[in-house]
Amino acid sequence: MDHRYIDENNVGDLYLMGKLSAQERAIFEMHFINCERCVEMLEETSSLRQAIRGNWPQEILQPASLLPVRAVARPVWRTVVMACLLALLVIVPAIFVIGEMRRLRHELEEAKAIYAAQREPQNADEKEPSTDQKPTPFSERQGNDQREKSESNSSNTAKLRDSRSQTNTPVFALVAARRGEADSNEIITDESQKWLLISLDLEGDTEHETYRATIESRGRRFWRADDLRPNQYNALTMSFRSDSLPSGQYLLTLEGISKTGEMKAIANYPFRVTKKSMK
């Protein structure tokens, strides 16, 4: 690994972002461990990243995390108008979908409770329902109870799907992994869905004002957002362009940020993305 290659390919930047493969990383580390030039570059980049990460001024350039900003020379007012329109396009449906989701989820829980109460005495020995059905995006706590899974095809779920198709912005409420549990959340998208929303229920955690979410894939950092604030339902929502999350297994880790900047691990949310091709 020579300096021309390192400079042209931003190897130092990619290293600090955790975007090098394990092999590239090892080769680069063994190079810079005694290379003053690279050490200086890495130290400078690291302090620059640290300085600007938490301090990006709200009033300038606030692109949605993964949203491409196309026109560089566009007048400022146009950028602002575009940003507002885009925010409306994404946030309004999101708020509607989340509100609707909560209401329907509540109805679903009620229906389940009634159904379970009716069914329990007569069907105590009944076989577990099959599990090979398609998971729904709203996989709230379904992993625990196979019976709950069978209920996901009920009329309430159909209603959930209907409400989703009204906006075409699917919301995936991820469930935190509990100790010793290998269960993963499923995110199934198709080409018609340009955006998707990930919602994380913060459960009992109310002590933090802001959170950091990191998504890893194959042990490498894929995406990170600081300064996430919970909504009125104590949930965090993040919007992604569907094409920015290719099929595969991911791990989302959530940390709470205290007022003094200390980080505290909150939960892990493993999830799998599957792209459904449209015929």
Partner: protein, 193 residues
């Protein structure tokens, strides 16, 4: 390049021989030569954990011991040797941490008790305000975008290039200039405070 690496290997071999002979100044030289690189590796591997500083000290302690025990057979491979010691310590650190996490909550509370003192917090706040001013005052919108998209949003270079209509060479130049201008402006504002 070849000539330099040969000289480097010879210098390294001499240094190792002196450490083996118990020369403390050679240990210091070796420490100074590798310290910053090892620190970056450890900070990176532990996600900037405060434990990285201790692991760094430990890396050199073990390296010197191993050299004295004759475990480094090819002095030319000293960088890889130190690298391996550092990574073994990181693995060990995480193994211990996992065991520790299962232990009592009281201990965890003890660890989180270390809050930064007031002066540090004031200085941090001042620095943050300065960074915000520098970013707002940067003249080139394109440079600011490049900084944001590459270092904060961590978007792929290819994608940023496609969006901004740049070649990778032009992108590298913009990033280089953005960093230079940021540093200059920061130093100027910090000195004029």
């Amino acid at each position: 390049m070849e000539v330099f690496s040969m000289i480097d290997a010879r210098v390294e071999a001499e240094l190792v021989a002196r450490v083996m002979a118990g020369d403390e100044r050679a240990e210091e030289e070796l420490f100074l030569k590798y310290r910053r690189g090892v620190a970056i590796i450890l900070n990176h591997s532990t996600d900037n954990s405060p434990a990285a500083a201790d692991l760094c000290q430990e890396t050199f302690k073990i390296t010197f011991q191993k050299i004295k025990n004759g475990e480094l057979r090819e002095p030319g491979k000293l960088p890889a040797f130190i690298w391996k010691v550092a990574h073994n310590l990181v693995t060990d650190h995480f193994r211990k941490l996992r065991t520790h996490q299962i232990s009592s909550i009281e201990e965890v509370e003890d660890i989180t008790d270390a809050t930064p003192d007031q002066l540090d917090m004031i200085l941090e706040k001042e620095k943050a305000a300065l960074v915000r001013r520098v970013l707002s005052d940067m003249e080139s919108e394109r440079e600011r975008q490049a900084l944001y998209r590459f270092y904060i949003a961590e978007e792929n270079k290819e994608r940023v290039c496609a969006d901004l209509g740049l070649t990778t060479k032009q992108f590298n130049l913009i990033i280089f200039r953005a960093r230079k201008h940021f540093r200059k402006l920061y130093e100027k504002m910090a000195s004029g405070r």
